[in-house]
């Protein structure tokens, strides 16, 4: 298995402009790609057997002021996963959709938009809400969003301390 992965990695390295590559396990590797080369990379990977898009997601690298977009592709024939990573600007996050390569990306991109605020040009539906309804704060999966604060503001909690002070032991039934 390691052999076929090394071959694939070599091929990928030859064809694509890979900034950095990382072996994660004997069935999985990651490549960093320039923002502009992702479409070419995905098209190429699809042509060599990575026919299934497993997930598109995003990581908020708040310390570097960047979002990292993650595309994970699955090669069913060889049993390999590839993680394609690219960095985009965090202040004005936008990117170009990949639905023309992987139609399945439609909802993943919509979710990334909802959770991180990344807009995807060319995927009109990505601007619509998906899981959340009437959302009134910054996108919730950004690192600077604190769910506890939001929850305390919106949803009242029971003051259990008072109850505890008055009782010890169990409940009589």
């Amino acid at each position: 298995m390691m052999n076929s992965m090394n071959n694939i990695m070599k091929q990928v390295d030859d064809v694509l402009n890979v900034l950095n590559k990382e072996v994660i396990s004997n069935r999985q590797f990651a490549i960093d790609i320039n923002k502009g080369d992702v479409h070419q990379a995905l098209t190429y990977l699809k042509s060599i057997g990575f026919t299934q898009l497993s997930i598109i997601t995003c990581v908020d690298l708040i310390a570097d002021n960047k979002f990292q977009l993650i595309y994970i592709l699955n090669n069913w024939e060889l049993g390999l996963f590839v993680i394609v990573r690219t960095d985009i600007d965090r202040d004005n996050p936008s990117y170009v959709t990949v639905v023309n390569i992987f139609p399945g990306a439609k909802y993943y991109e919509r979710e990334v938009h909802e959770f991180f605020g990344v807009t995807f040009e060319g995927n009109d539906s990505s601007f619509k809400p998906l899981l959340l309804e009437i959302w009134d704060d910054i996108p919730p999966l950004r690192k600077d969003f604190d769910p506890q604060v939001y929850s305390d503001r919106k949803f009242e909690k029971r003051d259990s301390d008072k109850i505890y002070r008055s009782k010890i032991g169990g409940v009589k039934l």
């Binding site: 009437i134 909690k157 029971r158």
Partner: protein
């Protein structure tokens, strides 16, 4: 808000409660993860029908609504919407930790913490999630509560409608359900 137990029903209501307690229709709405213990409760292993209970597809014919665990704000809007469609008398049984004080999702941005701020709850079941035995016991308790006139959350909801509405709007902003086509 604590629900009172006082029994101020007239004779006809008592007779009505006696009979309706023996034939309770449960609304078929799985709001959260506790719903996974409902199929065993409903079907042959635990056999809810022994208590004269059965599932009911529409809110208008249902008597009891089960809040099976956590409620996201999106679901809570539907729960309120369909609770208000149910006919009186109507009862709510709340499952598990999440309905009492938020459960595992106490710090989530999407789920509410205290159910009884939004709709009146007649009976709570402890557990995460409650086992079918606990659920069956809860149903039996509910039946005896109805017979004794203690399950009067629905009355409370009518009497304190503004209070409930205010809480609902504070957390949800609006309870009306919009077109979800997003088009």
């Amino acid at each position: 808000m604590v629900l009172e137990n006082q029994d101020n029903r007239n004779l006809w209501e008592k007779i009505g409660d006696y009979f309706s307690a023996n034939s309770i229709w449960m609304k078929w709405y799985c709001t959260g993860c506790g719903a996974i213990e409902l199929p065993p409760t409903m079907t042959s292993r635990f056999d809810m029908e022994r208590l004269g209970m059965g599932p009911m597809a529409t809110p208008r014919q249902a008597d009891v609504m089960l809040i099976t665990g956590y409620l996201s704000t999106k679901t809570l809007r539907r729960v309120i919407y369909s609770y208000e469609q149910m006919q009186d008398p109507k009862y709510i049984v709340a499952f598990g930790s999440c309905t009492i004080n938020g459960g595992v999702y106490y710090d989530s941005y999407a789920t509410i913490n205290q159910l009884d701020k939004y709709i009146p709850v007649d009976l709570y079941i402890a557990g995460c999630m409650p086992r079918p035995e606990a659920v069956m016991n809860a149903f039996a308790d509910l039946i005896s509560m109805i017979k004794k006139g203690q399950a009067n959350g629905w009355r409370h909801y009518q009497e304190n409608y503004e209070w409930y509405k205010k809480n609902q709007l504070d957390s949800l902003e609006e309870v009306i359900i919009h077109d979800e086509f997003h088009e």
